[in-house]
Symmetry: D2
Subunit: 295 residues, 4 copies
């Protein structure tokens, strides 16, 4: 049993923190806004006034933050966080950020003897709560060994190790999110094709997700796309989707790779936001497909 | 036990015909070229000299032909095939053709009292042999009732009924093939993204096809794309892939629907053929992705 | 002075026929519908009851028809038109059709000793009236020599000869129409970019069409795109635009060439028709750009 | 006659500086590397050791720098440049940068009483030398009044004023560069279409740039695209082209506008760089079109 720092108790951070408490760990938590932290305090978490206070020498801090900028603010802007972690401290970064940002943070931490373990997660909040998420990790081997049991207790035991290069897990996470976006567009085109040619969206969705595409992404997302309705059961919003696809395209630009499918997914999300669909689930990129078909 | 006509004993037709023989049916077969028919004759099939001779009054004929043109040649060019089938005759059309062609053939057959059952199949040849294919059917209910047991014996019992409108099953088949093509491009972009950023194609393929994308299409096709090699174990060639995507785009054009992902899949196949990759598996559209990235 | 046959007195055919009459030629005209022919009869044209009656042995017939199908109906469906033209007869085909159709018609005509001169025209009707159109021609040299003065009198003296291969002029015409469509989309993206970032569409259009893009296509089309209004002064409708882009894409498909810009122009037109914009000028493909930007 | 500061005497800066000297102005110049500055010193320019030393109270400084980062280094990183310019000083920024960067610099300058005039230029170096460039300007009216004669003397008298909002001229410049890139891709697709269908690239280029597209961009760029050769007469390289298209796409992303043509131009440049074509003229994006067609 250890005391773990935990920054970011939003939609995804909350169930992870709760699982850590349930596993018997002590948590020092910080969240920018107050609301969501209360339920954790009720479960025994200690709240600190500043984010850096979650870090203690040689200990572990989880961060579950919304984007590169927030994480850079915490870590790169001044060195206090890294200094407090110090020798043998570990920063477990759950956030979906760019591999480059991860590398820059890891370098800075290293100057203080601390480690950075990239640990992005594929999980909607309810999957994390049920410890059925998949975790991708990369970073120093010894740090990963200490972190792995905590990830299993709090997110799930499907932990995939992509080696010691810091950014590797982020690369996989971004590529995976791109593939989800591409599956959404592909279903939207196919179901709209069916509808325009006399087959119901539900009928084609049912057949294909029981056979060729009988896997979580297609089975989960096909329901909203078949209904062509995206403002209920919102798990991951359009702006978050755009943020991730932008990270994909920036990384691809830097490594000199055209990604035409990613461009299309990007443009669907951008058009959706231009039409003020900020509160829709990102699956709503599919609406552009039916609109272009006059539906 | 009935005598069934069977036209087209190519890669996919052969295992279907063999399964029908194994189930105890008599077959009258026809194939344009001689070679492949011999193994069926050895199993008891009777060979006829002309395609139309497979049809007998009130009986059933399977066709497994390569494209719309070949099927039109058999059926629409003169009426002998439909006349021979006559009242209560059934044409079970396994071919992947356009819904419009299917409707025109069904109309013509109807003038002679015969039925057309659209029965396109999702199955690589080895899956059909093992009766693990999925069949989409549409057409008159009574005709489908007579045909269903034969499809189960010869292709598999995953039979999905899309109603009485002739072209419906073809619509689903085309949409499904499009979705496979889109999955190939999506994997190619994602795996290349990984490779360009320090993660092996095999590592990302392994993780994603065990979790989010744990379904037949991703598991089967990811292997070739991870290896980035497409001229071995060729199941469905580039020209066949292009033929099907062209049918998708023509149908979408006719029903007024833009399909940007289908355009990209189309262009990859077209570029592949411009580079003389006719003998590659259609998964080889993925090679364009790595080439554009300088790999 | 000769008697010239003339089939198709629609928007573009009318001013061409009028110019031929004004140059002193006798015309035998045919149009599917009556209305538009009357003004030519008033000017001395003779009207015939059937299209084929415009053709006389060794004489010249102009056709200005809407698409491949109408021209095939006239020429390929039965041989009477070609037979009547006979030895030294010339068919001057102004229509924008596929190079392949042109070749098939030329072959058939050749069997009767008649020539086919592909003569597609770049001209809105008012430009043709003022004899300021550009004509692309291809076909047998001697036939072109006889036809050239007539084209100069009726369309303009900017006549560009692309050699003896029948389809060459059609290839150029299709490529040119594609380039116009691409210029429309490019302006639409640029002007919308300006508008979204604080510069009026008129301001940017004015600057660019006086400098870098000071040429007819940009100067003419930029006005409608700057106003973002497309249902006034309709010269060439969305369905005609789609027909031509479909010919481009079919020809490119046959010759194994991906054309990503053509795909996008195609999809804009298709989406416009899905939204019932049949009566808009084809410049209206630009509306999709502003809609996707939430304007 | 005034003393003008001048930073950046590269390909484009050199002829502009030379024209200013020829018009009788005194120049204080700075360039990161030595070579190119010498010819200006021979003409009477004074060289300063540090970039900020070009600025004097109330005077004018031209900057012709390669990208946002270099300009930010000069201006935003510390305040010395703005402080030296001081009250009534004017910074004439010729560089193609993002509108946002321009706005941030203008704000900073304003705190010291200095003005920023965005003055991006459409001109290849030889056009600037001949004072045949086009200049887009935006910024405070009084500052523009002082700057306009200098721009006319050094670049050309085609000066287009886009008002007082700082970034407006940059918006137009980016949109214009995008339109050039789109014209390159459109010509490449059209000329390749011609070549694949039996018409030479030169023949179609000649016809279209004499008629529909008789304007500088099409006439200049068509020559390289017709020859399909891009490593001679390099005026603006592939990496510079990519930099500008990236600015377009970032700006469009920020203002919520999909730009599918810009995506394609971007991806062609990116693929070109992935294939090590850094030294090619950016017209070389056209090579991707012929390669995809198997040429």
């Amino acid at each position: 049993m250890t005391t773990i720092g935990f920054i970011g108790t939003g939609n995804l951070g909350l169930p992870i923190a709760r699982n850590l408490l349930a596993a018997g760990h002590k948590l020092k938590i910080y969240n920018r806004t107050d609301g969501k932290a209360q339920s954790l305090i009720d479960l025994g978490a200690i709240r600190v006034a500043k984010a850096v206070e979650t870090a203690e020498p040689g200990q572990i801090v989880f961060t579950v933050l919304s984007d590169d900028a927030v994480l850079e603010e915490l870590t790169l802007k001044d060195e206090e966080f890294a200094r407090r972690l110090g020798k043998d401290g570990i920063h477990v970064s759950i956030s979906t950020i760019s591999p480059d940002t991860a590398r820059r943070i890891a370098n800075q931490h290293g100057q203080f003897g601390a480690s950075y373990v990239a640990s992005p997660v594929f999980a909607r909040p309810e999957a994390a709560a049920a410890r059925k998420g998949s975790v991708c990790i990369s970073g120093p081997a010894s740090a990963k060994d200490r972190v792995r049991p905590l990830l299993a207790q709090s997110i799930g035991d499907a932990i995939f190790d992509f080696g010691e290069e810091t950014g590797a897990a982020n690369v996989v996470k971004l590529a995976g999110n791109f593939m989800i976006g591409a599956a959404i567009e592909a279903m939207a085109e196919a179901f709209t094709f069916a509808e325009k040619n006399g087959v119901t969206r539900q009928a084609i969705a049912g057949m294909l997700t029981q056979t060729l595409f009988a896997c979580p992404i297609y089975q989960n997302y096909s329901k909203m796309i078949a209904a062509d309705q995206y403002d209920q059961a919102v798990g991951f919003t359009m702006p978050l989707g755009l943020k991730d696809v932008n990270l994909v395209l920036q990384t691809a630009n830097g490594s000199r790779q055209p990604m035409p499918f990613a461009n299309i997914v990007h443009d669907r999300l951008l058009a959706g936001l231009a039409k003020n669909r900020h509160a829709w689930d990102w699956t709503g990129l599919a609406r552009g497909v039916s609109e272009d078909a006059g539906l």
